[in-house]
Every structure is written in structure tokens, then in C-alpha cells.
């Protein structure tokens, strides 16, 4: 049942991200709900389940992006693994630590996405690169409490 609800949550977040309302887009940036979901799962579930649903979130995101290589699937699974290792050394019980982890994870994911575009030979103005990097990460982190609540409701 819990797994079905987690799958349903991925579908809902995917739909929400695809049809994100225009008035909630700031500086052409919208939050990466699936990334926040994939990372947050590590805080609330055992590593194996979190990793599987993290990969599924990444796959769902990659399916609707025009790029063919599964960047997000790899990135989400790697981030889940790294946070799992970090959680063994640092306490991730308080919300502030979780927010900081989400911010860093989002930042890293955006750097990978941005550098991927540059590596492919395409040019992005520095202003737009930094805007996407900073605003996207902060926006994703700002919405993370809602995702935490959603996962808490599903897992309890």
C-alpha cells in the first residue's frame, strides 16, 4: 500500500511539475519537486526503498525531458546514496539540516545539468546560468517542507 502511494506521489508531483502554474514561476525558474522527493525519501525510508523510488523519480523526469541520456536517473540515485552515507555520520533529524541537504543536493544537480549543456557545446549566458543555479535551488528548498509533510503522511 505504502509503495503504491509513493508511486502515486511521483505521478502527482510529475504532473504538477509539468503543469506548474505560470504565476508561480519566478525568473523563469520552477522548483524541482521530483528531486526534493527523491532526496527526502532517504530521511524517512530505508535506503533500499528510497533508492528504488529515487531512481523511479529520475526516470519519470527523464521521460519528459528532450535529452536522451538519463542524467536525472543517475543523478538522483547518486544523491540518494551520498545522503545515505552522510546520514550515517551526521544527524539528519532536525529540519534545518534537512533543508541544507536539499539545498546542496539541488545545487549539485543543477550544476550537473548546466555543465552538461555547456559540455555539449551550447552557450548559456553567465547570468542565466547563475540565475537558474541559485533561484532553482533556493526555490526547491523553500518547497521542501510540503514534500516532507507528504512523505510523512504516506509513511505513517
Amino acid at each position: 500500500m505504502k509503495k503504491c502511494l509513493l508511486l502515486l506521489a511521483i505521478i502527482i508531483l510529475l504532473t504538477l511539475q509539468l503543469a506548474w502554474p505560470g504565476f508561480l514561476i519566478f525568473f523563469n525558474c520552477k522548483p524541482d519537486l521530483l528531486l526534493v522527493f527523491a532526496v527526502s525519501l532517504v530521511f524517512y525510508l530505508d535506503f533500499k526503498t528510497a533508492l528504488i523510488f529515487g531512481i523511479l523519480s529520475g526516470l519519470a523526469k527523464d521521460m519528459f525531458l528532450p535529452v536522451t541520456f538519463a542524467t536525472n536517473t543517475i543523478s538522483f540515485s547518486l544523491l540518494s546514496y551520498l545522503i545515505h552515507i552522510l546520514a550515517r555520520r551526521v544527524s539528519t533529524e532536525t529540519n534545518y539540516v534537512r533543508f541544507a541537504i536539499i539545498l546542496i543536493a539541488s545545487f549539485l544537480n543543477n550544476i550537473v545539468a548546466g555543465l552538461g549543456i555547456i559540455r555539449a557545446g551550447n552557450i548559456i549566458p553567465l547570468g542565466i546560468f547563475l540565475r537558474n543555479l541559485i533561484i532553482l535551488s533556493v526555490y526547491s528548498m523553500a518547497l521542501s517542507p510540503l514534500i516532507f509533510k507528504l512523505i510523512k503522511k504516506i509513511t505513517t
Binding site: L18, N28, K61, F64, P66, G114, I117, I123, I128, N132
Partner: protein, 257 residues
Amino acid sequence: MFKLPRKTLINFALVACLILLVSNSLSCFKNSLPLTIRPGLSLISLLKRELRGFIFYHRNMIKAEESDKQIEALRANLFDLREVYQENIRLKNLLSFKQKSPLCLIPARVIGRSLDSWTSCVIIDKGRSSGIKSGMVVINNQGLIGRIAESTDNISKILLINDPSQGISSIVQRSRQEGLVNGTLGANLIMRYLPEDAQVAVGDTIVTSELSHIYPKGLLIGKVVNVGCEFSGLNRYAIIRPAVDLNSIEEVMVIIP
């Protein structure tokens, strides 16, 4: 037959003439009388209104509540109608464009937008089952939108012209100066590889060139809003404002080659 005596008729006519004469000659009287009684009349009507409001307070309250509900319902209807009206205008424009255009076009509706901010794409409700294949060009009545990046049976992904991976061979319509238009992920596009003495100025129209193998010749891309010199100093660039507002496209046309 009913007949009035002549004397009575004459008397009546005389009285009428007298009244007309008095009322016409004494216009000050005609104006001043209503002015004199107006405050009194206003006061009476005000008192009557207040008294009626006091007596029928409960009935008025219920009526007001009903009216409020009706206003809300009508407002919602008006909002829906405004949406339908705007959609109607858009579809009419698209239809007239389709009828005028010599190209073979398939209309489609945008159902989703890009998942992240590192790519610029939209998802449309038509796919391979409607004859749409990857690589096909997408336009609307305002200009070029992009090309199909991927197509499944029922949906297709359109890579918009402001995606950084887009490179469109284009020309300045006025001077026929060639260049390459790239997306920047922002609201504007950039036309690069313009020589130092390029004939390009603010306000020039940019269209696709015949050198492009993907895009048909002559599709409107946008207008030049700024011209600058590249860091190396060897080339110039032009900033282009797309003809289509890429953030608010709702209906598109796919060109079938």
C-alpha cells in the same frame, strides 16, 4: 352626435391660451417652483426609503444574499466566457493562418511544459498517430516556435527556439546578412557569427534562411533589439526578441513536409 356648445369651447380655448401665455412668459416661475419644492421632495423620498428599508429589513437582507450569490455565479460565468472568447480568437487566427498558408499544417494543443529550467520545451497532444515525426517544424500564426524533438503515439515534445541546443540558420530580411540564431534559455535569442561589417540594426526582422535543412525558408523568428561586438572583437552578435511569446503558447501548428 355628441356636441359641445360653442361658448364652452371658446372659454376653454381662452383658458388654455392664457395658461400657455403665462407659462411661457414666466420661465422664472417655471424654474423656481421645482427648485423650491425639491429639498422637501428629497427629504420625503429619503424618509420613505429609510422607513421602507426599516420595515422590510429582513426581506431585503434575504434578497441581498440571493443577489450576492447570483453575482458570484455570473462572475464565474463571465470568467469562463472570457476564456472561451480568447480561445475563440486564438483559434480563429490559427484557422485563417492555416487557410492562407501554402504549407501542410497539423494543429495541436500544448498540454505540458518543460520539467526543469535547463531545457526549453513543451508537450503537445498529437503524436505519431497524427502523422507527427521528430524533426518536424512547429510554428503558429506569429512565427517560428521550434521543432519536434521526440514523438510518441499520442504526444510529442517540442524543443523551443530559445533552448540552447537550437541552432537556426537565419538571415536579416533587409540586408540578407546570414547568421546563426541560438537559444539562451532566456526571453531573447542570440544571432551569432555576424561579420564586423554586418548590415544589421535594431528593429531588423530575422527569418530562417534557405541554408537550413530543417526549417523552411522565410519563417519569422523575431526582431533585433540590440547589436553588440563579441569579446574576441572578430564578430558581432544581435539580440533577438522572438516574434512568438514562448512562455504563453497554447496552440501550435506542425508543418508536414
